[in-house]
């Protein structure tokens, strides 16, 4: 081969190589998996928030497990495969609480949305952009609220500055170390997330799994209620109800005797969310507290809509079927969203606590008239104290398997006249949850303590 031939070949190779190098970059930018994407548009962020399996269906169920709406037969308790459920049933300490903690993935998704949203230009009509931001803040607030009701002590003068608040993750950076906030900071962050979101959210979401402004007001109200700041709770309940206060009339809107009387996304639902299924709460196991069941009057349609008679060894007792997921709770769900009936009860309670008996009773009677059959006679009360007692009794009877009972037990435990000491009987022994018991606050998961060096609850 001659020298010029070699030169020609060399040029050819160099030419081909440089051509390859130029087109190479583009060639290698192809997406490896068509179903994968890097979040870059409003649509992508909505898709994250619309992922119902993370954002809607996995809130903790422990709030109901710890409550006194139900009990287990001794043999049912013994047959439970989960030791943590067995301990929670009798308010025993157990730090295997990972399942509840998993709902922090809601905060993570919200933070991802908030961070990526900053890279997107809101444009001239920022309604969608605001709505995404408001939704993400709402979801983060909801997560922090549900976690705080299990893992942080109730807010009080004495706990406000203690370091037993929950960790407040405000960024998706997994490298950041978790630290506990004070109890006061916990509630401040929950309120600020909800309040910010209320200013951004539309009055109605595209679906009931998307947050809306009334839902945000409702959550602010629920948070203030848990903080025992009743004026504010009433104020925000009212703000929510000004926008949405529709009720189902059990006489005509539902068939109380049906296996699952409440359709998913029915018109009482402002915002839909629920826990994962819980074995202990499944109707096959959880028997409704017999005193509670007996407290429903004969003309109370909830008696049929909420409960089903048990058969077999449990016959003579009842299980719960009144969930708002439309599924008849075959798996034991706890509703974690917002339903209008709760708002009526919050506003009524707050009126009562403010001494406005008439307004309080009006709210209560409006709600109850939809729950009783036509023979319902509106209730009346003589003084604010009696009003409050009636409202709290009705609250107990209305809100079952909603996670609210646990928060109520926590906030009322120090009010002598309204406090209840929950009790369990197991294998002939009685267990009590006294007001000063550490059982009111769950242990943080051992795995989280190990990895983060956060302080465990006492």
């Amino acid at each position: 081969m001659k020298k010029d031939q070699i030169k020609k070949i060399a040029f050819l190779i160099i030419g081909l190589c440089s051509l390859a190098a130029i087109s190479c970059k583009k060639y290698l930018e192809a997406k490896p998996d068509q179903s994968l994407t890097v979040p870059g548009t409003i649509k992508d962020l909505w898709a994250i928030l619309d992922n119902t399996s993370t954002m809607t269906l996995k809130y903790p169920s422990s709030s109901e497990v710890l409550s006194d709406n139900y009990f287990l037969r001794d043999d049912t308790w013994a047959a439970l495969s989960s030791t943590v459920l067995r301990s929670q049933y009798i308010w025993e300490k157990n730090d295997n609480t990972n399942i509840d903690w998993l709902s922090y993935s809601v905060s993570y998704a919200s933070n991802i949305v908030l961070e990526n949203l900053l890279k997107i230009d809101p444009g001239p009509s920022p309604a969608e952009w605001n709505s995404v931001k408001g939704s993400a803040l709402f979801f983060r607030g909801l997560n922090l609220y549900t976690i705080s009701q299990l893992f942080a002590p109730p807010l009080s003068q004495s706990t406000q500055n203690t370091p037993y608040g929950i960790p407040l993750r405000l960024s998706s950076n997994f490298g950041e170390k978790s630290v506990r906030s004070t109890v006061g900071e916990t509630y401040a962050r929950i309120l600020s997330d909800f309040k910010l979101s209320s200013a951004l959210l539309p009055s109605k979401g595209l679906t009931k799994t998307r947050p809306s402004r009334p839902a945000a007001y409702a959550m602010i109200s629920k948070t203030y209620l848990a903080m025992k700041q009743y004026d504010s709770a009433g104020y925000y309940a009212n703000k929510c109800m000004m926008m949405y206060d529709s009720l189902l009339n059990f006489n005509k809107d539902i068939i109380p005797s049906a296996a699952a009387p409440f359709k998913r996304f029915n018109r009482e639902v402002i915002f839909h969310a629920r826990s994962g299924s819980s074995t202990i709460l499944a109707p096959a196991r959880a028997i409704i507290d017999t005193t509670l069941y007996r407290s429903y009057q004969v003309n109370d349609l909830r008696k049929t809509a909420y409960f089903k008679a048990n058969t077999g060894v449990n016959s003579g007792t009842h299980c719960f079927k009144g969930d708002y997921d439309g599924s008849g709770t075959s798996s034991g769900f706890v509703f974690a969203g917002v339903i209008t009936d709760e708002l009526y009860l919050i506003r009524a309670e707050c009126y009562a606590r403010a001494g406005q008996t008439a307004l309080a009773m009006a709210d209560l009677n409006k709600l109850l008239s939809t729950r009783f059959n036509t023979s319902f006679v509106p209730l009346s009360a003589v003084d604010p104290d009696q009003t409050l007692t009636i409202i709290l009794t009705e609250r107990r009877k209305e809100l079952l398997f909603r996670g609210t009972r646990w928060t109520d037990l926590r906030r009322l435990k120090d009010e002598n006249e309204h406090s209840v000491i929950p009790k369990r009987w197991l294998n002939g022994k009685m267990y009590e949850l006294n007001p000063n018991s550490s059982g009111y606050v769950l242990q943080l998961p051992a795995a989280v303590i190990n990895l983060s060096d956060m302080e465990q609850n006492p």
Binding site: I48, A78, T83, V106, Y108, G312, V313, G328
Partner: protein, 1064 residues
């Protein structure tokens, strides 16, 4: 006579040179040494010092005027041979040529980029030829490597996922499988498509110098498969190979099932304790076993109940599985190939058929392979090749599954007294969703049968899949000059897989789904049966479309018989695209190919609200994956005086997997090596060891992971996945801007030798390996919203030894050849950012868990302090004190746990002995593995109660004081305590040594006499028999009779193959 001839020749030579020489001729036949009956056509026979030459004809015949005292014969594919003309040139000569390929001194190894003489290689190559591969009869090619490859470990602990490791693990969570090269390119198709009869040889590239030419995918080692091709100027030959393999049913008696009578006693005990009460009282959400249902039936008297139950004590569900689900497997394999060549063309055409009747009744596989390979040499210096391989694989999988897979009674395993058929063989149903009593009342005959009837399933299932795969290789090679040649290779693979799963209305799946959605209160058909009456048809199309193109320049110069330079450089572009589509049709009627539409949007209440309200399941899905790689590479070696060789290679890869920024960070992967043939030195005079070569290499290769990305990525789900019918997305990957490719660095030192007149030969290699930047899960406090993230955070270091020895122990009429393979591969995690092992960690060594300072397969246990002699409670240690605090025991710090060692053998290999006498030869291949542990399965009472997970240890449980002398199985307590059970299951008492020696493979061959072959006018004929599984353990360290290869599952049945091979 002889004397006269030599005198006459002498006279002639002396006096009449011209005249006599012109009249004398030399003639003869040329044959190949390896197949003495096949003539070598086209060989050039030249007189020494003369231009006169002749070419052998198709019979190998040549004739030349005798003008010199010796001739030189050259032929493509054969060694150049010089020959002195014998005293009587008039006699016909018979000359046998040595094939270059078959030359022991010139073993050629292929890297997929080039073929090099092993003698001049610096790297670690292990070559397995066709003969050895054929001693393992199998449908696929990879399993044939077991027991005959150095440094290769088959990890079969997970029966459904056999893993192969070359020189130990090189990665933690990325793909750990070696890269498989088929005919120069990475093989992207289904590895089971390759017809083992078409394989010429396999080379395993073990060290960096051998494998780093494959760059970012070579970190786990490379297996290079080369298929057969024809030879220029060779006779047409036809070879046939046929065999049949028979395999017993799997050994169901090795499952740890609890005898029916004991299981029934346990159920009775639990019933009396009230364990089933909540299940009995809510039959809508629970299933019950027949015994519990009888016990709960208040209309039966105690005597009646006992009588009914006693009947069941006599049943063993395994009997029915043996009879109705399993059978002996029968695999047939036929192969025929044609090969040959003329001066300008060679060809190889092959056709194979495999028909496998598998152990599970209803499961079958058939495979057809066609291969055609042509090489042309149309003009001097130019070579073209075209190779097409077509594979069609058809599978039928109608079995409802083997014992232990499926057959769930709600969430619980099948009870041991279940029956699949009655005494007359009529199929029986299982009440898998609700108790019998409840099921029978449902729907009052307006619903479809709600039982699961396994034998009917087998009959009704109609699941088939057909895969068509076409693999095309074309290439051109042009010799630009004596020095330089250029080649372009192109490979294209296209594969279509059509799977069809038709679930007729008689299958449980369809009946169940229709029933669930039935609403008897509705009269309108679409509302009464939202899932229409009729079958359900699922169709899946999967397409693979892959191409590779490579341009390469090769240069070779050899001068002054001292210097030999070999260089190559090239660039490569590859793309693999996988597209998959699945769709479902409801109400399908195969007779009229009609179907019905369903409403996927609205939710329908389930029958009697047994399952809440649901939307009709959507099974349609799409998948589209695209992987692209661009690489440049170069490789060179220089040999001086046939003694000293140095080599170097470099490669740079880029891909679309990680994102562009990661490519930019990639450093080239490279290797360097040196070899020294000591025995060629003039000072070397150790005659006992005539061949001695030293080698050393160092280099880096890489590893990719297609599942991670540097950016936050979302996976989209279709709207049908969501309860609100909106498209949704899951955050798959947390943003990790620091992502890089994994790197594997390896140092290899080796000695090759031959001693004692080549009676003993082999090699000894030592290596060190360090895999850095390995992607590993880093456990994160879940408050962040993530339990784990993948970061380039781990390092694995390992070292080992590979020894291969070949010995001709007895050489004579009776021959005994031995081959010893020994490998030592030890590795440990030397760095991991966050230990997986936190408090309470215990493991069974089967899954990779990175813990700093330990093997990724480390077995870790709770310390064991025996059984409490009073109660039979298991005891452990907390802070050195004996304790029963199980929740603390199962959370005890890692430092206090027992660390046993690796779950995979540290020392393993084979001893293969071949004995042959006359026409018969017998090969016994013994496999050994040492230095590892396994966790023996045992009873976990909580799992037994809640999931029906059985183990015979239940019978060995502590029952009375004193039992602790004989047993380590704790007492059974009710309510069961999951923490107590976990403690016992993961305590050190259940860890045993895995060391064992087994007879892995037996191969017996009979070669018919040449005289018989000649009579049949064939070249050779042989019959052979093989068994690749005899379940024959010669020695084991555990005294409990457990096969450490199958600690969890049941033993497979033995197998035997019979076959016949001949060449025309």
């Amino acid at each position: 006579m002889k004397i006269f001839k030599s005198i006459s020749l002498g006279v002639c030579l002396a006096f009449l040179p011209g005249l006599l020489f012109a009249q004398q001729k030399v003639s003869g036949y040329i044959y190949s040494r390896e197949s003495p009956k096949s003539p070598v056509t086209g060989a050039t026979v030249r007189l020494k010092g003369n231009l006169k030459s002749s070419i052998s004809d198709q019979n190998g015949f040549f004739q030349l005027d005798l003008l010199a005292d010796s001739i030189i014969i050259t032929a493509v594919g054969y060694k150049k041979t010089a020959l002195a003309i014998p005293e009587n040139p008039g006699d016909l000569l018979t000359i046998y040529l040595e094939s270059t390929a078959n030359d022991l001194g010139e073993v050629m190894v292929s890297t997929g980029y080039q073929t090099i003489a092993k003698e001049r290689a610096t790297g670690s190559f292990y070559k397995i030829d066709n003969t050895l591969l054929n001693q393992n009869v199998s449908t696929d090619v990879i399993s044939r490597l077991e027991g005959i490859s150095s440094g290769l470990l088959f990890d079969r602990r997970d029966a459904n996922n056999t893993k192969i490791e070359i020189r130990g693990l090189s990665t933690i969570y990325s793909n750990a499988q070696p890269l498989i090269i088929l005919d120069n390119f990475p093989y992207e198709g289904n590895i089971n498509n390759i017809n083992p009869n078409d394989v010429k040889d396999i080379t395993i590239l073990k060290d960096a110098a051998a494998s780093s030419i494959w760059g970012a995918r070579a970190g786990n080692g490379v297996i290079v498969i080369t298929t057969k091709s024809g030879r220029y100027n060779s006779e047409l030959t036809l070879s046939v190979n046929a065999n049949t393999t028979w395999a017993e049913q799997p050994r169901l008696n090795t499952t740890a099932i609890i005898p029916s009578t004991d299981y029934i006693d346990l159920e009775t005990l639990l019933f009396n304790k009230g364990f089933y009460n909540s299940r009995i009282s809510s039959p809508a959400y629970n299933a019950l076993s027949p015994v519990v249902e009888i016990l709960a039936n208040k209309s039966l008297s105690a005597v009646q109940a006992a009588a009914q139950i006693d009947v069941m004590r006599g049943y063993d569900v395994r009997d029915d599985f043996r009879k109705y689900i399993y059978r002996d497997a029968l695999n047939q394999q036929y192969n025929i190939n044609l090969s040959g060549g003329i001066d300008k063309l060679n060809y190889f055409i092959s056709s194979g058929l495999d028909k496998n009747r598998q152990n599970l009744i209803g499961n079958e596989l058939s495979r057809v392979n066609l291969k055609s390979s042509m090489v042309f040499r149309p003009i001097k210096n130019l070579e073209l090749y075209a190779d097409v391989q077509y594979t069609k694989t058809a599978t039928t999988s109608n079995s409802p599954g083997g014992y232990g897979s499926g057959y769930k009674i709600r969430n619980s395993n099948l009870y041991p007294y279940a029956r699949l058929a009655d005494d007359r063989g009529n199929p029986l149903g299982l009440y898998t969703l609700f108790p019998k009593g409840f099921t029978d009342t449902l729907g009052k005959a307006k619903l479809l049968d709600w039982r699961y009837i396994p034998i009917q399933e087998l009959k009704e299932n109609d699941n088939t899949s057909a895969q068509h795969d076409i693999l095309t290789n074309v290439g051109i090679k042009y010799k630009l000059s004596k020095l330089l040649n250029a080649e372009v290779k192109y490979q294209y693979e296209r594969s279509f897989t059509d799977s069809r799963q038709y679930k007729s209305i008689n299958t449980f799946y369809t009946r169940d789904l229709i029933n669930r959605f039935t609403n008897l209160s509705q009269n309108q058909l679409e509302l009464r049966n939202p899932v229409p009456m009729g079958g359900i048809l699922d169709l899946t199309d999967a397409d693979l479309d892959a191409y590779s193109i490579r341009g390469q320049l090769n240069a070779r110069k050899n001068w002054a018989d001292k210097h030999d330079i070999n260089l190559l450089a090239g660039t490569e572009l590859r793309q693999t695209e996988n597209i998959q589509r699945t769709d479902r049709t409801y109400g399908y009627d195969p007779e009229f190919i009609s179907f019905k539409n369903v409403d996927y949007i609205n939710s329908y209440p389930s029958y009697n609200n047994l399952f809440g309200s649901n939307t009709i399941p959507v099974y349609d899905s799409f998948k589209s994956l695209l992987f692209r790689y661009v690489s440049v590479y170069a490789n060179g070696s220089y040999t001086y005086s046939n003694r000293y060789t140095i080599s170097a290679s470099a490669r740079r890869d880029a891909s679309n997997v990680f994102g562009v920024s990661t490519n930019d960070k990639g450093t080239p992967l490279w290797s360097v090596g040196a070899a020294w043939d000591l025995s060629k030195e003039s000072f070397y005079n150790y005659s006992q060891v005539p061949y001695l070569k030293l080698r050393a290499t160092y280099g880096r290769s890489g590893n990719t992971n297609q599942a991670v990305s540097a950016l936050t990525t979302l996976q989209y789900y279709p709207a049908s996945n969501s309860i609100v019918n909106l498209p949704s997305a899951q955050i798959l990957n947390a943003a990790n801007p620091n992502l890089k490719w994994e790197r594997v660095a390896m140092l290899n030192l080796g000695v090759d030798f031959a001693a004692f007149k080549n009676r003993l030969s082999g090699s000894i290699e030592y290596y060190r390996k360090k895999s850095t930047d390995l992607l590993a899960f880093q456990q994160i406090d879940f408050t962040s919203g993530l339990g784990y993230v993948m970061t380039n955070s781990a390092t694995l270091t390992g070292s080992g030894v590979d020894i291969n020895l070949l010995g001709k122990i007895i050489d004579g009429g009776f021959k005994w050849n031995g081959s010893l393979l020994f490998s030592h591969a030890a590795y440990q995690v030397s760095k991991v950012q966050a230990n997986s092992a936190t408090n309470g960690y215990a493991s069974d060594g089967t899954t990779i868990t990175p813990i700093e300072g330990y093997s990724p397969y480390e077995l870790v246990s709770y310390r064991w302090a025996g059984l409490d002699p009073k109660t039979g409670d298991p005891l452990g240690y907390i802070n050195g004190k004996i304790s029963k605090d199980y929740s603390s025991l199962i959370n005890s710090p890692f430092s206090e746990q027992t660390k046993h060692g690796s779950g995979v053998p540290l020392y393993f290999g084979n001893l293969r002995n071949t004995f042959s006498y006359k026409n018969i030869s017998l090969t016994l291949n013994i496999a050994y593995s040492f230095g590892y542990y396994f966790r023996k399965p045992t009873v976990n009472f909580s799992d037994l109660l809640n999931n029906g997970t059985m183990h015979l240890d239940y019978l060995r449980r502590w029952q009375n004081p004193g039992d602790e002398q004989q047993t380590n199985v704790p007492s059974f307590v009710y309510p069961s305590n999951g923490e107590r059970d976990t403690f016992y299951q993961y305590s050190e008492i259940n860890v045993l040594k895995g060391d064992h020696v087994r007879l892995q493979n037996v191969f017996l061959e009979y070669n018919f006499d040449q005289s018989i072959c000649n009579k049949l006018s064939i070249q050779n004929l042989s019959l052979y028999a093989n068994s690749a599984n005899l379940n024959l353990i010669l020695w084991r360290a555990n005294n409990q009779g457990i096969d450490p290869n199958q600690p969890l599952g049941m033993q497979p049945g033995r197998n035997i193959s019979l076959g016949l091979r001949f060449t025309l």
